[in-house]
Symmetry: C2
């Protein structure tokens, strides 16, 4: 029993270390990808968020990124100038302005991510459906945790301003 | 058979999307953490690399981060000024200078990561040892893939200079 507990503790320790290592590699990958595409790392990340959410308002973008409203306005200006996003009227509510990703630029960025996706898929051939489900649920769970912690960090920072 | 294949394809698609989503959250988390600590995101990331590798030379750091030698020199200057790293003689070879993380600062950064690690560990209680091994191996594999792709990106960029 005590040996089982210590084995589990070791596994948990390895897991958090490994996740941190993976997270750091993601940060580096994103940064190098941005350099390659000739944009700022922040620009690329925001384009990626918009591809996930679809057109959203500047306020919503500020909430997701944890950036201040002022910082987001400057960011959108830069992104629009670089041809990555455009400001447009919300088709559902003409009084609202939403930030939409520019699809041509999106396609270019997606292509750069394809070798990464292909290598991942090749590696996954070794897992059966049940194992894949387990892994998918796990990645989904840690993404939710990361989102919660991100929100906490943002709230703390806002209240200390 | 054909239905099984399509199920597997769906799983692979969900997985690459989910991983990308997680990676992006890592980038945002790192950025917000850096803001909270009062350093640049790059500074924090480099400190994290040094905590993984231990003291390394500027050349080795350039190779890992994918930054040019010039950019790395500027980065180390900034990190040293911020008290995050120090330049010191390699204990194993007095002619070499290595960049070492400053442990007090390291401790501070680690504390900020603890709530994230705790939430992850709490979630993992639901997995048994065999499942944990499967997940650990998977995360290790995708980290290796990310490292390989990162290296490719860096090589491409260097050769296009």
């Amino acid at each position: 029993m005590s040996r089982d507990n210590s084995r589990k503790t070791d596994q948990l320790e390895s897991l958090t270390q490994q996740l941190r290592k993976y997270g750091m590699r993601s940060v580096l990958f994103q940064q190098n990808m941005a350099l390659k595409l000739g944009v700022f790392p922040t620009d690329l990340k925001t384009a990626d968020i918009l591809n996930e959410t679809g057109p959203i308002t500047a306020g919503e973008l500020a909430r997701i990124t944890g950036l201040s409203t002022g910082a987001v306005t400057a960011l959108i200006d830069r992104l629009e100038k670089a041809g990555i996003v455009k400001r447009e009227k919300d088709p559902k509510d003409g009084r609202r302005v939403v930030i939409a990703p520019v699809s041509k630029r999106h396609q270019e960025i997606l292509e750069h991510y394809q070798t990464l996706a292909q290598a991942t898929k090749k590696m996954c051939v070794n897992y059966d459906e049940k194992e894949m489900d387990l892994i998918l649920t796990f990645i989904h769970n840690i993404t939710t945790i990361m989102e919660d912690e991100l929100e906490k960090l943002t709230i703390e920072r806002d209240s200390s301003l």
